[in-house]
Symmetry: C2
Subunit: 332 residues, 2 copies
């Protein structure tokens, strides 16, 4: 499945997302459903984050790691009930990974891709728009929580979540026949809110420090290298297949995803960063920030270099090295 | 990764492939390497085809099936040595499936995607062209066998194989820096052979009865339904995770992939085939055959319907139902 990345242009989409409300067709955000007596055990095996206290209809950002500690995917794990979970995916084929594990561990679960097509409503006016559709009950939902709502007689999961920091909801549409109606209804209800089409926006997510699987992370990267430490419960008494490796790696990783800040608008940076003819980093995402008037990038940097440097020369240009997410001080 | 599907147009590419020689950049045909003491055990677990007698540097078309009997992928399994195999893939993420199984079964293997970028040379003049590059030793290679050959000091696997029935070879390039040189060299050596660019060709593969994973098959289809019976060793004494299910299913499957032949050029057929207002089949691939002057399709048909019918009406047009691959009688 393909995902549209721009509608009116990257910058125009960005300002619109930050000021109004956008409807994103993120059907491409596939769900892997895990259902059966061993569902929770399988989800816990896959993630080093402790999911034992997750409540029904709650989601948790849960990096999935392999036995070497590499990140297979970084989905939201949504608990519908103890025996029914969804993994709301980034880009990789977690269905086959989960099925392979279930087969090998002889778990009593079904693993499949249900007919669910998420629609994200994002932006500062998202709550107003979604409440016009589903009623004021939506306003009581906390971040990464959800409830069931009806649209045209069809009950579907709606959560306060989405891949931007502008706030909003994701509607997990489970009846493709209602897709156009849902889209049209949001447009009708949102006309005075300046509703428009959108999609995950490069500028917004780089400014916000949101990582993209496939660009910034993949299975050669462990959670410590990309700053996901706080989602790994190293001391938890849980059965997770990556925890032994992650406990060994913790603190000893040799690279770290950092932010780069350049004070002027520059051409696209080369991916490889060198210092004294040696590769010391790799740019994984980059964009011009029209809000802060800085050129921003993520780069996977050698920690040994970071010990003695707070700036680095990239393509002959000086960049400040920043932790992620960027702090207000670094951007302003 | 994306794959180009046409160069001079589908029909022109088709005639060129059948009459001359084409170079196909099928880098997209990823390899999953399985290496270690349990490599052969893992490959055998994944496929219901008996691989025990595979020789070094031999490939076998080996459908991979899950415990329900569904087809996860239909690669060529290539044995480099007992402890080193490649799965030369169709479209699905077998690396994660194999890693999941290896983790669950606690197998002593590494599963990874090596830096290998296959280049196919296909067509009746392929052997002549490839022998100009690698020497006459190439002519002694039998179908689905291979040997190591050198190009610019780099040793790589070359096999007599490829996703057409026009004959040819696949060069498993393992050094991306040599890719342009290899391409240019084949063009230089093949100028008088009318060498040109190409890719798997819809017309050629439908005429030849070659199935496409993702179009004709996926994990909801078992090997009996798509005529792969001869690649399943139901009676073999092997440890394969799909064999128990396949033994139960054998002969009892309710649908069957068939050919459809229409004697005139028609518009693209609707996917769903009905009879007396009931769905009895689904078109999965289709094209106009300029050679036979017939419109050809593959369709997954209800076996109950097939018992009493040798023709079916599709979009108001009569189609003859044929077994696959199409026989010469049916095409001429």
């Amino acid at each position: 499945m393909l995902l549209a990345t721009e509608f009116s242009g990257l910058e125009e989409d960005y300002w619109h997302l930050c000021e109004h409300v956008q409807v994103w067709d993120v059907s491409v955000e596939r769900q892997v459903e895990i259902r059966g007596p061993d569902a929770m055990r399988l989800v816990q095996l896959m993630t080093p984050r402790d999911i034992s206290k997750t409540q029904d209809l709650q989601g948790r950002y849960a990096p999935l790691c392999n036995p070497q500690g590499g990140i297979v995917n970084d989905p939201i794990a949504i608990r519908h009930s103890e025996q029914r979970w969804w993994l709301s995916l980034a880009d990789s084929d977690v269905k086959l990974w989960a099925q392979g594990l279930a087969t090998g561990f002889q778990l009593d679960v079904d693993v499949f891709e249900p007919e669910v097509y998420p629609l994200a409503v994002q932006g500062p006016k998202a709550e107003e728009l979604v409440s016009r559709l589903f009623g004021d009950r939506i306003k009581g939902i906390r971040f990464f929580r959800g409830e069931m709502f009806e649209f045209k007689g069809c009950s579907m999961y709606v959560a306060r979540s989405g891949w931007s920091k502008q706030g909003g909801f994701e509607i997990y549409l489970n009846n493709a026949d209602l897709a156009e109606d849902l889209w049209d209804e949001l447009y009708k209800l949102g006309e005075d809110l300046n509703v428009g089409p959108g999609s995950p926006n490069l500028i917004e997510r780089v400014e916000s420090g949101l990582l993209s699987f496939g660009s910034d992370i993949d299975d050669s990267i462990n959670p410590f290298e990309c700053g996901l430490d706080s989602f790994i419960n190293l001391d938890a008494d849980i059965e997770s297949l990556s925890l032994p490796a992650l406990r060994r790696i913790a603190g000893k990783h040799r690279k770290q995803l950092m932010g780069l800040v350049i004070d002027s608008k520059v051409d696209r940076l080369s991916p490889i960063i060198t210092f004294k003819n040696k590769k010391i980093g790799e740019v994984t995402s980059q964009c011009w920030s029209p809000r802060y008037r800085k050129y921003l990038a993520f780069a996977m940097m050698d920690r040994a270099f970071l010990e003695n440097h707070s700036t680095v020369e990239v393509d002959g240009i000086d960049a400040r090295i920043s932790s992620l997410p960027f702090s207000a001080d670094e951007l302003n």
